[in-house]
Symmetry: C2
Subunit: 451 residues, 2 copies
């Protein structure tokens, strides 16, 4: 057997990119956000009650590159640059001529890419004088990342965690507590939104929609408190571009350029993170990689939703965005990929998909967790349920390459590990996985705002 080196292509801290890529600079005619009450284009002032000035600026900015503050780089250095792995083991199992690479974002304490945006968000709030941040968390990765970043910068954190997760994921909950985070099961008695739900249904297991409403209500009620979001919005997507910018440098080192770029999508943050720098090359005509978004059949906004203006939150407190959506009141079935259950999609990804610059595909959790199991055994890393969607996408493309006899180069984002989600694999191994696919009639687009 030929000796296989370069299993992990690494960068030194000094080689880490020092600016994020803001794709808004390269996209024309991006639909504006609308105010959820007036349905008129929003201005910076509309966002000021919950976001700090720099985040608002970034959300609406047209500058191509935005420098990463030194204090943020400093924390990035504790876990970045992250490695780009060559998946020799997976290639062997699939017996494919394709070269498969994955960018692994699970190497930090929170176990996912979420920290990439939590750190700058907390930093910008800190320098704006904010003392306290609220957020929601479903799967728990975002809450963990925000707690950790808040702990670092000395800001209080308040995480509304969907009650089902709160009960079933004690490990994630303890993690947040260990980093000084306040965690409460949502719906809670702390907000009107929570109390209203509990009055109707004291046993309610919670939903991301309710948790967002609680977190935003909390932030609006206190002068010293802002709100932080872990996906969907443009500034979050931009912070994540550090993933793709590093990946490009790593491929340069081995003189390769991928033919296919793949990531899973829920709200869109890790997908944007890996693919936007490649989209930059594609928009500039420098390269033409296929870019594939893999969503869950539980919330297939790209493949089954509509492209329309919709509310980004259930409580209608956040901006209205033109995006692919299942409808803001859409209730996805239960799935182990809690991070892929969002009803909408980042507006830029939505536009790029509408413009046919991106492909999309949806897989059921049985298929993705099976792919995750295959990957685990071949590569020795257990992927988070969300990340198994990207794994599945890569396997499908690698097998296609085999069928065609073409030695394609495929890269995907392994956005996080699954140590806290082993019960999902347990359900798979025991044949107890439920069908999480959405049926047509549950799409809830009859309540779209009349724009």
């Amino acid at each position: 057997m030929k000796k296989e080196f370069n299993r992990r292509i690494t960068l030194t801290e000094k080689e880490m990119p020092t600016a994020w890529y803001n794709i808004q600079a390269d996209i024309e005619d991006l639909p504006q956000y609308l105010h959820p009450e007036t349905l008129q284009p929003i201005c910076e002032a509309d966002l000021a009650p919950i976001f700090p000035p720099e985040i608002i600026k970034q959300e609406l900015s047209k500058e191509r590159y935005i420098e990463i503050p030194e204090a943020v780089q400093d924390i990035y250095h504790t876990y970045r640059p992250s490695p780009l792995h060559r998946a020799y083991g997976l290639e062997r199992v699939l017996d494919t001529p394709a070269k498969i690479y994955y960018k692994y974002e699970g190497g930090n304490a929170t176990g996912s890419h979420k920290l990439n945006s939590a750190v700058p968000q907390v930093y910008y709030n800190k320098i704006a004088g904010i003392k306290r941040l609220t957020t929601e968390t479903g799967a728990g990765q975002w809450g963990a990342a925000l707690s950790m970043a808040c702990d670092h910068f000395g800001i209080e954190s308040m995480v509304y965690m969907t009650k089902n997760s709160f009960v079933n994921k004690p490990g994630r909950r303890t993690f947040m507590s260990a980093f000084g985070g306040n965690v409460v099961a949502s719906p809670s008695q702390l907000t009107k939104a929570g109390r209203d739900v509990l009055a109707k249904d004291p046993e309610c297991g919670g939903s991301l929609g309710i948790a967002i409403s609680e977190a935003v209500e909390d932030a609006l009620s206190r002068q010293d408190t802002n709100y932080a979001l872990g996906s969907v919005l443009n500034h979050v997507a931009m912070h994540q571009t550090i993933i793709g910018l590093e990946t490009q440098k790593q491929f340069e080192k081995i003189d390769e350029y991928p033919d296919v770029v793949i990531a899973c999508v829920g709200g869109g943050s890790n997908f944007a993170g890996l693919t936007f720098p490649y989209m930059r090359d594609k928009l500039a005509g420098k390269a033409n990689p296929r870019i594939i978004a893999v969503e869950s059949t539980a919330a297939p906004s790209l493949t089954k939703g509509v492209y329309a203006y919709d509310f980004t939150d259930v409580g209608h407190m956040c901006p209205v965005a033109k995006m692919y959506t299942m409808g803001a009141s859409f209730m996805p079935k239960g799935t182990h990929a809690g991070g892929l259950r969002y009803h909408g999609m980042n507006p830029i990804i939505s536009k790029l998909y509408h413009d046919k610059m991106i492909e999309a595909v949806a897989y059921d959790q049985y298929d993705t967790l099976s792919a995750g199991l295959l990957f685990s055994r071949a590569e020795g890393i257990v992927p988070a349920p969300e990340s198994t969607h990207a794994v599945k996408g890569a396997i499908v493309e690698a097998l296609k390459a085999k069928e065609e006899g073409v030695a394609k180069t495929i890269v995907f984002c392994l956005s996080g590990h699954g140590y806290f989600e082993m019960y999902a694999y347990d359900a798979l191994l025991k044949g107890q996985l439920g069908d999480s696919s959405t049926d047509e009639q549950s799409v809830a687009i009859d309540a779209l705002p009349k724009v």
Copy 2:
């Protein structure tokens, strides 16, 4: 603030050492193993029923360096070389002039250093034609590592997992199943040893001693089956020296040499792994670092045991060794550091401690988990309960350096992460940690073999 680079000192795969260091070459008068029945020195044939030829050779070898087989190097490359981290965050929190470094072994799928020995052990069994391996596991790290290595080489694995862990750690159990491992709660109905215990106490929660007996009995009963041990023996310690050999190369890169080298000890494998290459320098008179073993007060064999010949297993089926021991029938109290509850100690570490080449200290789980929590918040990695002992040792030394106003260089082994053991931190945060310290009267050295 000065920009802090070199937080992670890395090596390329090509820089990974290609031979293990066998400290037996440099130690004279190492007491021989004795046969558990005859109490006469054992020969290779005595070990043949449960170990393959190459492992037996390594266990008794006097060669200074033993080459790492290519097939083993190949798997090492999937997660090695592991990074050496500079603990800037911890230094800042402690306000110490000491430079603190840690070698992080939690970056592979099994989450600890155990894979370093599981891979070669399975490999040598594979080339010896063995089809099936048995082992015991308490905390779960070793069982996970063995399952994964067996899966890679296509060998069946059978893990006897102490029943309490089996029930309380479903994540670890699923992990082993995901890698094709057979896991059974011990005591089980599958062996005479297990049935005997269950006949007396059907509710027995199991112990490492019982699980070892079951695994060895199983291996002895089948021609195609061997047994694998995760610590204590010399070949295991030697496989782990890849940790210290890499660390030395990493320090060379930044032109440093540590003054203090620290690791936690249970059976001794991660301790041997980090420190034996430094002991080599010390024995050769090339350097004189302090080498500190940190044990749990639950099983403080070095600080409270005796140096004597004792059985290495409860069932008296394995070799008798001269070592520091609490007595083979010693029952430690419950503690969250399941990997540090062994009654004895690797014989070489024991001799070196007896010869005053090593220092030892024991800490209670409250102190160590508190240190682990401090470390988590400062460094962004949550240590395994076992590893928090090394963290505590390093903090004590760093604070001593501060008191003395000396800029010492300290390195310790962060042997694994604690994602599967968050309940230990939960107990700490809730003030529910029990006292795990051993009282004098529980030392069980009245049953030592009469040598």
